[in-house]
């Protein structure tokens, strides 16, 4: 975008960028939710990326010494810090590997939601008239069907696999996103700077994606964070019902499902995947709420 050859040198821009970053950090200081949420998400991401290094055992290996003599799971011990499950597998390792599944599904499906939602919302809001009516009708229909039931049906048809779970959640969860984008676009397209772009002869594509889109992004980013939570929960729900991630691959959902079998006499099989799920949802929620407060100009009063 920026031409560096002329009077403004590269380093000028670098300095402007850096001071902008500084002021962003200064503002964020007033929103501890962003820090806490960001820290949790960052930790989860590290766990997911470095799972093979962090996991003490092979997550899918049923250990001979992982079961008591009567064949029930072992409680947390030095060797198995989170205990073992009914197959004698190390729960800590499985929770660590489950982080990969949950984060991948949560984030990738949200990106799919984002792309579809932004496209649909942008076209509906920008063109209006029958395009708006038609696209919003589709959106309302998608929203009217219970999300999890629809995912179940789709996975049942396509077959249960990691890819299909991801696609099902990604292709069905964009309804609210489309609505949010459409609402924003309706407001922003009447702004005079959009009229100015029209008066300059800018094409529709240029107006939509260069003039309007950057101004829509604030609320969209906030909602995306909250959407990641929903999608992580959806994946866990599907896996819990046995139509999500299949054994022996570990996901928090199918671990909870297994844990329910042994909960009576080995409650740790339920605790740890449940706790992991809770922490992940909490982290993304805090981040989303924090971003929302931060972007809301009224909440910035007094922090300038």
């Amino acid at each position: 975008m920026v031409n560096h050859q002329t009077t403004m040198s590269n380093s000028d821009y670098e300095m402007a960028r850096r001071s902008a970053l500084k002021s962003v950090l200064r503002h964020i200081r007033h929103f501890p939710m962003i820090y806490v949420g960001g820290l949790i998400v960052l930790l989860l991401a590290i766990v997911a990326v470095f799972a093979p290094l962090l996991a003490p055992h092979n997550p899918n290996f049923p250990f001979q010494n992982g079961l008591t003599l009567d064949g029930s799971p072992k409680p947390p011990s030095h060797e198995f810090p989170f205990g073992t499950d009914e197959n004698g597998r190390d729960i800590l390792s499985r929770v660590i590997y489950g982080t990969r599944v949950s984060l991948t599904v949560g984030i990738v499906s949200t990106i799919i939601n984002l792309v579809i939602g932004v496209l649909v919302g942008m076209l509906a809001g920008y063109y209006g008239r029958w395009i708006d009516s038609a696209l919003m009708m589709v959106t309302e229909t998608i929203l009217a069907i219970p999300f999890l039931l629809f995912c179940m049906a789709l996975v049942a048809v396509l077959g249960a696999s990691f890819m299909n779970v991801l696609l099902a959640i990604g292709l069905l969860g964009w309804g609210v996103m489309a609505r949010i984008v459409r609402g924003q676009v309706l407001a922003i397209k009447e702004m005079e700077y959009v009229q100015a772009a029209r008066a300059l002869g800018a094409s529709h594509l240029r107006i939509m994606f260069r003039s309007i889109l950057p101004n829509v992004f604030g609320p969209v980013i906030v909602f995306s964070m909250l959407n990641v939570c929903n999608n992580i929960l959806a994946e866990a729900g599907l896996s819990y019902l046995g139509i999500g991630i299949q054994q022996p691959t570990a996901s928090w959902g199918n671990m909870i499902q297994e844990g329910v079998n042994t909960y009576q006499f080995a409650p740790w099989t339920l605790w740890f995947p449940g706790l992991a799920l809770m922490i992940a949802v909490l982290g993304f929620n805090l981040l989303g709420d924090g971003f929302r407060d931060w972007l809301d100009p009224q909440s910035r009063v007094g922090t300038r």
């Binding site: 031409n3 403004m8 009229q195 008066a199 300059l200 101004n215």
Partner: protein
């Protein structure tokens, strides 16, 4: 008479009012209803009237930012209402607009460099390596620091932002500018600076202006001719000094009497109009002004007044002053 750059014939812009489940059209708001005028090269035509009289709609209809529902707009002899998409795109290089609200007219996410290089990119006016130079010379032209290019709109005052808005309109080297209340949102001290800038630019670049405003003293300062609108229709048009010294339409008289006088001892009869502007969806019969006109007669309620040239270049639509 020198050649008219812009010739507008009975321009009309009606907005449908839709009601009910089926969104049926139950009426029209006649925002602009049969306006005709011409603008000569290098001239400034002032357009005045109350809020809601169709000034802004008229300005935008002339540029086809709002599609007119009737009439013709000839630019250099060609009817732009028949222009195709690509012809219209080329026309954008000839006609530009400056908006009223300098806080809404600049994209808050764009650096000034981006805002000012957008027209250059859209019309492919220079190579990427020349863009920064062009942007900086535009900034210098409107009296800003060339280094401001890297800043964001929120770092500027209203007057500075309006200068940026003017620079953006000038980027494509237009011949005609529609100025949509360009100083209405500015402090009085800044208003005169921006007005002087506009006058200077007109002299340097030979620009033609359509200057929309509701502040008559501002309009007098800058316009060669002035058109008075009421309820989407023309009430009067005349050379600026003629209009101020010899107003004919009762509505023009009322507007002029509302200008504050700098001399506190000066006594002048104030004409205070009663009531509000009628609903443009349901305009009064006959002369649209008769409901508020202090001089209204029976004839005003039944017959639409004709457009009469009372003296050279001075036209008025009034039964009593024709």
């Amino acid at each position: 008479m020198s050649d008219p750059v812009l010739q507008v014939n009975s321009l009309a812009t009606h907005f449908p009012i839709r009601r009910g489940v089926l969104r049926r059209t139950v009426g029209h708001v006649r925002a602009v209803d049969g306006i005709s005028f011409s603008v000569k090269r290098g001239e400034t035509l002032g357009v005045v009237g109350e809020s809601g009289c169709g000034k802004t709609t008229m300005g935008r209809s002339v540029l086809r930012l709002i599609e007119p529902t009737g009439g013709d707009v000839f630019y250099n002899g060609r009817n732009i209402l028949n222009f195709s998409k690509s012809e219209l795109r080329n026309l954008r290089r000839e006609m530009q607009i400056v908006f009223q609200d300098p806080f809404a007219s600049l994209n808050p996410r764009y650096r000034i460099y981006q805002t000012l290089s957008e027209p250059l990119i859209i019309h492919n006016l220079c190579s990427p390596s020349e863009r920064m130079e062009r942007v900086q010379s535009l900034l210098a032209r409107v009296g800003l620091d060339p280094d401001d290019a890297r800043r964001f709109p929120h770092e500027f005052s209203g007057g500075q932002r309006q200068r940026i808005g003017i620079a953006r309109a000038l980027a494509v080297n237009p011949k005609l500018l529609v100025l949509d209340e360009p100083v209405a949102a500015l402090d009085v001290s800044v208003q005169s600076q921006v007005l002087n800038l506009l006058v200077d630019l007109q002299k340097e670049l030979g620009l033609t202006y359509i200057f929309v405003a509701h502040d008559l003293s501002v309009v007098r300062h800058i316009s060669h001719r002035i058109m008075v609108l009421y309820l989407g229709r023309m009430a009067e048009i005349a050379d600026a000094d003629e209009l101020f010294e010899n107003p004919l339409h009762p509505y023009t008289e009322a507007l002029l009497s509302a200008i504050p006088m700098p001399d506190p001892d000066a006594r002048r009869e104030r004409i205070i109009l009663s009531g509000d502007v009628p609903n443009p969806a349901n305009p009064p019969k006959g002369c649209v002004f008769h409901t508020r006109c202090p001089l209204a007669q029976d004839v005003c309620k039944s017959r639409v007044p004709e457009w009469n040239e009372v003296s050279p270049n001075h036209f008025v639509a009034c039964h009593l002053r024709a």
